[in-house]
């Protein structure tokens, strides 16, 4: 068991790198800081892979062949009354190990890639320090043993995301985006915190294993308390889970808390790949997966909400993605859409039988999505460096200029579009299969989303690499230059992963019960989604391969729907309306008035009264000793008279 204690080094190594670079980074010349951080991360990745090997193949199973949850390290940090304590520790189970591999691998790729991408940046070492902080927080989140520990690291990833989005703080838009991301996710985390309090007060513990055990045991007291008490006709347990899911939805950019994610693309592109595509934004999925037992067994209502929020987000984001022209924003909406997929995969699964395969499918998609989405972002970074623009109209015909990027980007597009035998096909099929079993409506939403995904990804692909050579690129001195070896290596490795990750028998490793499950790849079932994806790709090719009038015609056909989608369905405007016109005017302004006039007014009145009062009697202090004596004598005489004649 104790061999897994080595996992403590996985978060600590990036943290050490953060401390080193944070304190001494400015003394390091050139790319030394980056190499240092990369070496630290290589160590963390090596330990992660080692643990994955030991857990999945050697020591993870118990005598019955079921993967166990292992807690190699647990320290009590804060002890409250009644056996409630906040612990710090490590938790090793299949999803945690899977996430360790994903986070360290993607982070390593991003570290390598950034060596070239961020070269010459003034705050190069700060950038790597922040990457270290983020990786530390994310790994800590993955390894958390209890709800409160996960909350602490949850906030830490929020901070590192804030720092990295606002990395180019001389741009007003980057500052605004960083603040927006922080405030929106913080708002969601308020729900998370209240949810933690609700669940822990019902179950009397924060520890994941005990919590899940107490809240799924139908004879136990914890579950009884949690379901018996309620608010607005919904049980406390469901409220708690919904509030926790609100935190998860904020971090995972689920509708309607998604508004920060597209703006977060102001950060450096490798950061978008790491934080806003592969790791941090799936924290919400991870959180729901962590508490899956409670969701599935005790709160089917909350599951339903998870499923529908996921499904709506995935379709909604896919529609918007078709209309955006900034390539990073397209990828951002695509991320949101794919995370919606994972969410509804969790939401549609039941507690047992075949339906529980949704749990495996969601984690499988999380795994494959991390690979191809990181690849897409890193490829987009190459393209942006080559043309110095994020706009699709400034690109075109880049396939000769960026051959490696072209090939890997194509692989990633095929993977995300769900074309066999690339990675996305397998995980998407598993998800659709799970949805098909229990929620036909969500299954159809998934199918439509899959077709849209194929369309917008290939719109991007053809727009960037095919079509007319843009006027923009003749004047670039980067012409014909595709970055150094260490920039291409991550693309190639991730490309290989995107091609092969689907063949991993994922059900053998990650399942809710811990027993191997068989994920279905049924030929008859696959025909519909795959052919729809192919149609999406063909339409994209028809529209965008050569300059064509079709896109404008189709946009004209959809008219106001197209405009609304391009304006992101005015969600930002609705938020602004609610905050500025309703919250600011009706709540904040009266509160500010109350604060200024009543609270401050009272205090100021006391101050002014003391001041004017003392000023009015300060004339008595003449400095003349005889006048004091006269007052003294007079007052004494007065007191004598009072005491003799009036007080008996």
């Amino acid at each position: 068991m104790n061999m897994f204690t080595q996992a403590v080094w996985i978060p600590l190594l990036p943290f050490l790198s953060f401390l080193l670079l944070g304190f001494f980074g400015k003394y390091l010349k050139g790319t030394t800081a980056g190499w240092l951080a990369t070496v630290f991360l290589l160590g963390a990745a090596a330990i992660s892979f080692n643990i994955a090997y030991e857990y999945f193949f050697l020591f993870g199973k118990d005598a019955n062949g079921v993967y166990q949850t292992i807690v190699p390290l647990k320290m009590t940090w804060l002890q409250f009354a009644g056996g409630l304590s906040i612990d710090m520790g490590l938790l090793i189970d299949p999803i945690a190990v899977m996430m360790l591999v994903v986070v360290t691998f993607i982070s390593l790729m991003v570290h390598l890639y950034s060596l070239g991408y961020m070269k010459g940046e003034e705050r190069f070492s700060t950038y790597y320090a922040y990457l270290g902080l983020f990786t530390f927080s994310m790994l800590g989140l993955v390894l958390s043993v209890n709800l409160f520990q996960i909350y602490i690291f949850w906030e830490l990833v929020g901070v590192s995301s804030f720092l990295l989005i606002g990395f180019y703080f001389d741009r007003a838009s980057a500052i605004a985006a960083a603040k927006k991301a922080f405030i929106v996710t913080r708002f969601a985390d308020l729900g998370f915190l209240i949810g933690i309090l609700v669940l822990s007060s019902a179950a009397g513990t924060l520890d994941f294993q005990t919590l899940i055990q107490r809240l799924t045991d139908s004879t136990g007291e914890g579950l009884h308390t949690a379901t018996a008490t309620g608010f607005l006709g919904v049980s406390a347990l469901t409220w708690g889970l919904l509030l926790i899911f609100m935190g998860g939805a904020g971090k995972s950019a689920m509708f309607p808390l998604h508004i920060w994610l597209p703006d977060a693309m102001e950060g450096p592109t490798p950061v978008s790949a790491l934080i806003h595509a592969a790791t941090m934004v799936v924290a919400g999925v991870y959180l729901v997966a962590r508490l899956f037992g409670i969701f599935a067994f005790s709160a089917p209502g909350a599951m339903e909400v998870v499923a529908w929020v996921g499904a709506i987000s995935s379709l909604f984001a896919a529609v918007i993605a078709c209309t955006q022209t900034d390539i990073k924003r397209v990828l951002a909406y695509s991320t949101m859409s794919q995370i919606g997929y994972m969410m509804f995969a969790l939401g549609v699964s039941g507690g047992s039988g075949e339906a529980v395969d949704g749990f495996t499918a969601a984690n499988f998609h999380l795994f494959t999505h991390a690979m191809f989405k990181a690849l897409l972002f890193l490829g987009a970074g190459m393209v942006i460096h080559a043309v110095h623009s994020n706009e699709l109209k400034d690109m075109g015909g880049l396939r000769k200029q960026l051959p490696v990027t072209h090939l890997t980007f194509l692989i990633a597009c095929l993977a995300i579009a769900g074309v066999p035998p690339f990675a996305g096909f397998f995980s998407k099929e598993a998800i659709l299969h799970a949805a098909h079993l229990t929620h036909p409506a969500i299954y159809w939403i998934g199918i439509i989303t899959a077709a849209l995904t194929a369309f917008y990804m290939f719109r991007l692909y053809f727009g960037i690499f095919h079509g007319a050579t843009s006027s923009h690129h003749g004047d670039s001195h980067h012409h014909g230059h595709e970055g150094d070896f260490f920039q291409k290596l991550p693309l190639i490795l991730l490309g290989v992963a995107s091609m092969t990750a689907g063949f991993i028998p994922f059900g053998n490793f990650v399942s809710f019960s811990g027993r191997p499950v068989e994920l279905h790849t049924d030929l008859a079932f696959s025909i519909l989604p795959v052919s729809l994806s192919l149609v999406g790709i063909l339409i994209a090719a028809w529209f965008y391969r050569k300059p064509s009038e079709m896109p404008d015609k189709v946009a004209g056909f959809f008219g106001s729907v197209f405009t609304a989608a391009r304006q992101k369905f005015y969600i930002d405007e609705i938020y602004l309306f609610i905050t500025r016109k309703i919250i600011f005017k009706l709540i904040a302004a009266p509160a500010a008035w109350f604060d200024r006039s009543i609270i401050d007014g009272t205090v100021n009145t006391f101050g002014v009264a003391a001041q004017t009062g003392s000023e009015s009697i300060s004339d008595l202090q003449t400095g003349k000793v005889q006048s004091y004596a006269a007052w003294f004598v007079g007052a004494t005489l007065l007191l004598i008279i009072v005491f003799i004649y009036f007080i008996h």
């Binding site: 300060s618 202090q621 003449t622 400095g623 003349k624 000793v625 005889q626």
Partner: protein
């Protein structure tokens, strides 16, 4: 011996006390003020002696207090004159009205 009644002593000490207070409040010369203060102290001394004599003739407490007050008055006079000398050096005056800088 014809006893002098207590009221005579008290009238004397009261008169002395108020003469002192009057001098303290009305004089401008600091040395005169100091002298008025001595009058006040001595009126108290007379009270002590008188009451000691009439209430507890066998005891000496009142006498000791008087001696004590005389000693303190001597010390206080020394300090007060030192202060007056310094004030004179500073203001070139020993008028109590001129010494009024210690105020808000």
């Amino acid at each position: 011996m014809n006893e002098v009644p207590l009221s005579h002593f008290l009238i004397l000490s009261t008169a002395l006390f108020f003469i002192g207070v009057f001098g303290f409040l009305s004089r401008r010369n600091l040395v005169t003020i100091l002298m008025s203060l001595e009058l006040i102290l001595n009126s108290v001394n007379i009270n002590f002696i008188a009451f000691n004599q009439y209430l507890w003739p066998g005891k000496m407490d009142g006498l000791f207090f008087t001696l004590f007050i005389i000693a303190i008055a001597a010390a206080e006079a020394a300090v007060a004159i030192a202060i007056i000398l310094h004030l004179y050096r500073h203001y070139r005056s020993i008028d109590a009205e001129d010494v009024d800088t210690l105020r808000f």
